[in-house]
Every structure is written in C-alpha cells, then in structure tokens.
C-alpha cells in the first residue's frame, strides 16, 4: 500500500461527503415534485410525455397500483429490448453487419438490463450493433436507474406520510428523475469523457497498421453517451467486453475517478434525502456512517491483499503487488478501490478483472454483494435495501429491551418485519440454491475456467452478482450457454422484483400508520450505538448465511495460495 493510494481513497470519500448534501437537496426537490432550473428546457417534454400517455402526475397511487404500473412499464421495456436484440441483423445502425442474438442470450440480456444488472454474457464489441447499444441498452441504463430512485422515493413517503393511503405517482417519479437529474448530468459527463478520449461516433470499426506492420481493428461507436449513464445509473454494462478496463471506456486516471464518483454520488445523496424526508437529516447521516464503516473495511482488505500480491508468482521471480488483470494507468490502489465501489453499489462495471484478484481481495466484492449491496448500494436500490435492514435492526433492538420497535416516527410491527425478512431471504435462497445446482449438474460444471476452489467461486460469484443485480463477474465462467443464460436470467428477475414488491408493501403499510412521537423509551436511531447495531445486523445476516460458501470458495483458495498449491 502506498501513501498516494490512501490519499486517493480518502480523497474520494471526502469529495463524496462534500457532494452529499447538495445532491441530496436536488433529489429532495424531485421527491417533492418541485420546480428545478431544468424545467425551462425540459418542462414541456415532461408535460408532453404525460399528455400523450394519458397520465395525471398529480393522481396519487397506493402501493399496489404503484407496483403494478412499475412492473407493466418494465415488462414492456424488456419486451422492446428482447425484440431489438433478436432483430438487430435487419435493423439499421449496424455498420459491422452483426447478426441477431440467440433467444437465450437475448432473454438473459433483456432481463439483465431491465433489472439494473447489466450482466454481460456477450462481448459488446463483437455482438452488439450501435443501434442495439443505444436503443436496446442505453434506455434501460436510464430507466432502470430512474425506477430504482422512484421506488426509494415511494418508501421514503411510507416513512414520512401519516395515515396516508398513497405513496406517490410512479410515472411522475420516473419522468422527473430521468429528465431533471440523469439526463442533464449525463450530457456534461459525456462531453468530459469524449474530451478525455472516449469515442462517440456512429462508425463501426477503424483499421490500423501498427508500427510492426500488423493489422489491428478497433471497435468504435457511441461509447461516451452510454458510459456516462452506465456509471451514474449503477448499471455497469460495458460497451466492450473488458468494460471499464478498456482504454476506450476509461482512458485516464481522471476518467476513472469520475466513473467511481458517478457510481456513488446518487447513493450518498439519497441518504441525505431520506433524512430530510423524515424530518431529521441526522437519520440520513447515521445510515451513511454505517455504510461507510463497512465500505472502508472492505477497501482496506482488498487494497492490502492486492498490494501484497500473489506469493506463488513472487516465488517464480515476479515482484510487487498483483497486476494480473489490472491496467498500468490505474495501478493497484485505483483498481482495488473501483472493485469495492462497484460491488458495494449494484454497479458491476469493472476496471480490472476480478477473477484474477487474490483470493481474499476478490472475496470482498463477493461479500459486498452477499450483504445485499446496501453499502451505498445501487441508485435507489441501495437505500431501500438498507432500510429493510434498519427495520430488522430496530426489531432486534426492540426484542432486547421488550418494547414495540419504532423507526423515524413509525411503529414497526409484525407485518413490516415479515415483509422485510421475505425480501432479504430471497438472496440466500436463490444464490445458494442455484449455486448448489450448478455445482452438481454437468451443464453447470462446464462453466468455470479455473479449477479447484477458484472455479467454485466463479459459479458462486455469478449467482450472487445476478441476484444482487450487480452484473460484475468472475469472467472466466463461460456463461453464454442456455443453462447459465436461463438460470441467471431467472435469478436477476427474482433478485429485482421479489425484493421490490415486499418493499413497496412495507411502504404502503407504513404510510397508513399514524405518527408516533419519540419518547424517553424510544431506541435512538442516530447515535454510535445505532450505527454499531446496523453494522452488526448486516454482518450477522450476511455473514452467517454465506460464510460456509465463502469457506469453500475464496477462503480455501487463499489457503491454497499461501501454501503454494496450484490447480
């Protein structure tokens, strides 16, 4: 580890802390439906969209209707993308003349982008036409992110409203977040990326004759416009196979920093927005503090492991930290930091190949996802996932002192706790179930590239990433098969919508409740005790559930690595 490396990590957190309140305020304006400066230009677009689709943005929805409209919208979007991917060969904007995708790959990819996962069973540069990238994929990057933020708003309203039957209007939330937050930021960031060397063209490829006289073909395309929302929306699906390790996606150390900031900035802001919505910004800072404790612990472990390097390679004459799968321009610190950021959030973009990380360095990204991606988390999904854990935490605290638990002025009762557990239980159910299935079936065992415990980790990582809607991979796994495309597709769908529906039910149930003022007997949910309890609950739920699987994968791999055993 180096001094510069730690300056980068702490500077990164410092910038985000400075942005938390301004971004949170902006999000709060959207939450409340207030006017923003962008209304001058985009206001007519918003009202036009409502008029053409027959939406009254002021018509409030109960949680069932909110959920139904959200699912209908996502289903139609998914069908559109499936059609675009299958028909890509006959659609315009295909300078490379690429054929349509196979049914199982199109199925997997359409679910993947709808569910904000962006798992890549395909290699972008040799599979996706420019039109498919723009019209099939980029739209999901915006709308799955906007859907996530809308859902967080709905849950915030559940906590904030008193005796209310409704939790907002889904269409108004999605449209405002897209138009007044995501689009303006992406326009600015896209221009910065282009200036830094990220291509933005409708051309397909360019041929180069290298200094040694060889032919090299480089894929170009509308990369920068997709890159901007890929990071800001915590989507993570790369234009290229190598994702943000590819120099055309992420050409400099500065673009790398902006990409990492983009992943986290909305998640940081939403914690503040939550506090503001429930009338006490300290509640937001308490949540952010618990998240940061887990985040910094993860960064420290991964950075230390990667900087220490691989003793097996040291033994055959290679110096220093682990550079397998890493780019020189980022080095070890920025690669380690990126890997923890992208899995703490549900982004899944990578600037280094996680499969080639050291055993424990690569375990942290895996563990981040197994904890439910609640350390900052995906845009919207992170905070609503975290609030599910907060409900569990006040429940546990209530059990210990024998009082009815309350959180931010709402009594937490049996119904909310049951729903929260239902949502959280989907993770171990699908991750461990599907991993076990794949570890015994021939179709599953055909997947891993690496042998030994590392091969098991590749399978475990894939399902964890799919259910967590992350999309990063231990990419050695050959996943573009009917078996993996199918199971991973199902896992992504369950991981997204089987958390969302119970979560919205909680929002509806909370909104209907009366306000319970804080009393001397209330468990305080702002101080250090509360932060410690939150961290503890998250680690116990995630840790106890997944520790056995980690022992079979990365921990066994680590023991092999330090004793010099190869497979």
């Amino acid at each position: 580890m180096t001094f510069e490396g730690w300056i980068l990590i702490l500077g990164f957190v410092g910038i985000l802390l400075a942005l938390t309140k301004p971004v949170g305020l902006w999000l709060f304006a959207l939450y409340e439906g207030r006017r923003t400066p962008f209304h001058v230009i985009l206001g007519p677009v918003e009202t036009g969209f409502y008029r053409l689709s027959g939406i009254d943005p002021k018509q409030e929805q109960g949680w069932r209707r909110y959920a139904l409209h959200m699912i209908a919208f996502n289903a139609v979007l998914m069908a559109l993308t499936y059609a675009v991917l299958r028909l890509q060969g006959v659609l315009p904007g295909n300078p490379q003349g690429l054929a349509g995708l196979s049914p199982h790959l199109a199925f997997n990819t359409a679910i993947s982008f709808t569910a904000n996962t962006n798992w890549q069973s395909y290699a972008g540069e040799s599979t996706m036409s420019n039109f498919a990238q723009m019209f099939g994929l980029t739209i999901h990057n915006f709308l799955s992110a906007a859907t996530g933020i809308a859902l967080a708003f709905a849950l915030f309203r559940g906590f904030a409203r008193r005796s209310s039957a409704t939790i907002g209007n889904f269409w108004a939330d999605v449209t405002r977040v897209t138009l007044y937050l995501l689009v303006p930021v992406c326009v600015v960031v896209t221009l910065f990326y282009i200036a830094s060397g990220v291509p933005q063209t409708l051309a397909g490829t360019v041929d180069i004759t290298t200094l040694e006289g060889l032919k090299q073909t480089l894929t170009l395309g509308p990369v920068a416009s997709q890159e901007a929302i890929k990071m800001l929306g915590t989507n993570g699906g790369g234009f290229f196979n190598a994702n943000s390790a590819h120099p055309f996606e992420n050409p400099t150390a500065l673009t790398n920093l902006v990409q990492m900031l983009s992943i986290f900035v909305i998640g940081f802001g939403l914690t503040w927005t939550f506090g503001k919505a429930v009338g006490n910004t300290k509640q937001g800072w308490a949540i952010l503090s618990a998240m940061l404790v887990l985040f910094l612990a993860g960064v420290t472990i991964t950075y230390a492991q990667e900087a220490a390097g691989n003793p097996i390679l040291h033994g055959i004459g290679v110096a220093g930290g682990n550079m397998e799968g890493k780019e020189v321009r980022f080095g070890i610190a920025a690669s380690a930091l990126f890997s923890v950021v992208t899995t703490a959030a549900s982004c899944g973009a990578v600037n280094a190949m996680l499969d080639s990380f050291t055993a424990l360095g690569g375990m942290i990204p895996l563990l981040n996802m197994q904890l439910g991606e609640v350390v900052i988390g995906g845009v919207g999904a992170g905070i609503y996932g975290f609030l599910l854990f907060a409900i569990l935490a006040v429940f546990v605290a209530g059990l210990m002192v024998g009082r009815t638990p309350e959180y931010v002025g709402k009594k937490i009762e049996a119904r909310e706790v049951k729903l929260a557990v239902l949502a959280i239980a989907i993770l171990p159910l699908v991750i461990l179930g599907f991993t076990a299935l794949s570890a015994v079936l021939p179709d599953g065992l055909a997947g891993p590239l690496n042998k030994g415990p590392h091969g098991f980790t590749e399978i475990l990582y894939a399902y964890t990433s799919a259910v967590g809607n992350n999309g990063s991979a231990f990419a050695g796994l050959t996943a573009n098969t009917p078996f993996y495309n199918g199971l991973l597709g199902v896992a992504m769908w369950l991981g997204r919508f089987f958390i969302i529906v119970p979560m919205l039910a909680i929002a509806g149930s909370l909104a209907a409740k009366k306000y319970t003022p804080e009393s001397a007997g209330s468990f305080p949910t702002t101080g250090a005790l509360w932060i410690g309890l939150l961290v503890g609950i998250i680690l116990i739920v995630g840790g106890l559930t997944f520790l056995p699987s980690l022992a079979l994968g990365p921990i066994a791999d680590h023991l092999a690595m330090i004793s010099g055993k190869t497979f």
Binding site: L191, G197, V206, T210, Q216, F240, A253, G321, V328, H454
Partner: protein, 198 residues
C-alpha cells in the same frame, strides 16, 4: 385489479416509446453531433496518423513483440491486442496455467539479461488486453536489449524512456507510466534501425 392493469397498459406502452426515442435516439445522436464538432479527434478514437495512415491510437495499446521495440505487456485479447476481443486472462491466483505462462515470460526476460525480480506489470496480462502503457520500471528493464539491437548507447535509450514517463496527475492521481506507442515512435525517430531483429 383488472381495471388497474388496463390503466397501466397505455402509459406503459406510450412511455416506453417516448423514452426510447428520447434516450435511445435523441440523446446519443445529439451527443455524437456535439462530440464530433468539438472534439473530433477524440470522438473518433484518438488516432495517430503518419503519412496519411492510421498507425495506432494514443489511448489503446497495440502489440509490440519484436526485440527492436519496447514490448507491451502480455495480452489475453484474442491472440494479443485484438481490438475486437478485449479481455483479461481471468486466470485466478492459484491457476497452474497462470504459473506456466508467467514462468515462460520470466524465462524470456532472463534470456535478455534482466536480473532480479521482474516488475509486476511486465509479466502479467492487463484487464483489457489493450493496455497502452508500461510502468517505468518495465520500460527500463528493456533498455539494454533495445540498445543492443539498435546499436544505440544505453544511456541515450534510457533518456528516451525518462522523457516519455507520464507522471501522476496532480502528483497523486494515477500511476507513473510510459505510453509504449509514443516511446517506440520516439525510438524510431532517434537512431538507425537495426537489422536481423528476431
């Protein structure tokens, strides 16, 4: 519930079409137009052109495998630096295949006379397989070979490397590195081309 579903269908379909047009067509095309107008070089791949021909990109790496050039890192992109197949090796820390490949690379450098532990990036494949850079240490480790093949004084080649080291931005952001294409072009501009390479 049925009426609820019906009420959802029209907005679901119409909003999908409207957003797809805005985000899938207008946004990327507008960005392409603006990008091409303001930053035409970068928007088209930051190509390096010599004698009217594209010979590389300043941001993407290309294969250098002959002894008379500074060689790029091992690459898992296709057969090496394949722009249509970006990829890392994805070999894990306990992979025998990784050990075998690394042994071969170490042996190659030993045969060139490099002693001591090799800089990590020189014996490892990058994430993209298109890494344009080397660490300064990896470039310096190749100075003796390049100087010998090109019949140039080693000090002159070493100075060339030093002149091509890009430092970290603001002293902290990013790693010191050498763009291999830039270094090799500077090398070609310096001295007589040796014959009989490889």
């Amino acid at each position: 519930m049925t009426s609820d579903l019906t009420s959802a269908l029209r907005p679901a379909f119409v909003m999908t079409i409207l957003f797809a047009l805005l985000l899938g067509i207008v946004y990327p095309l507008a960005m392409t137009g603006i990008g091409q107008a303001i930053f035409p070089t970068q928007a088209n791949g930051s190509l390096v052109v010599a004698d009217g021909k594209a010979i590389g990109s300043t941001v993407v790496g290309q294969a250098f495998t002959t002894d008379r050039y500074f060689q790029t890192r091992p690459s898992a992109a296709g057969k090496g630096y394949d722009g249509l197949a970006s990829s890392g090796s994805n070999l894990g820390p306990t992979s025998q295949a990784l050990v075998d490949r690394t042994r071969a690379d170490v042996a190659k450098r030993r045969a060139e006379g490099v002693t001591g532990p090799l800089p990590a990036d020189l014996a490892t494949a990058s994430g993209s397989g298109l890494d344009p850079d080397l660490s300064p240490a990896s470039a310096y480790a190749q100075v003796a070979r390049v100087a010998r093949i090109r019949s140039l004084p080693a000090d002159r080649v070493r100075a060339l490397v030093a002149a091509n080291v890009d430092g970290a931005l603001f002293g902290i952001l990013g790693e010191p590195r050498v763009n291999v294409l830039a270094l090799n072009r500077a090398l070609d501009a310096t001295g007589p081309h040796a014959t009989g390479a490889r």
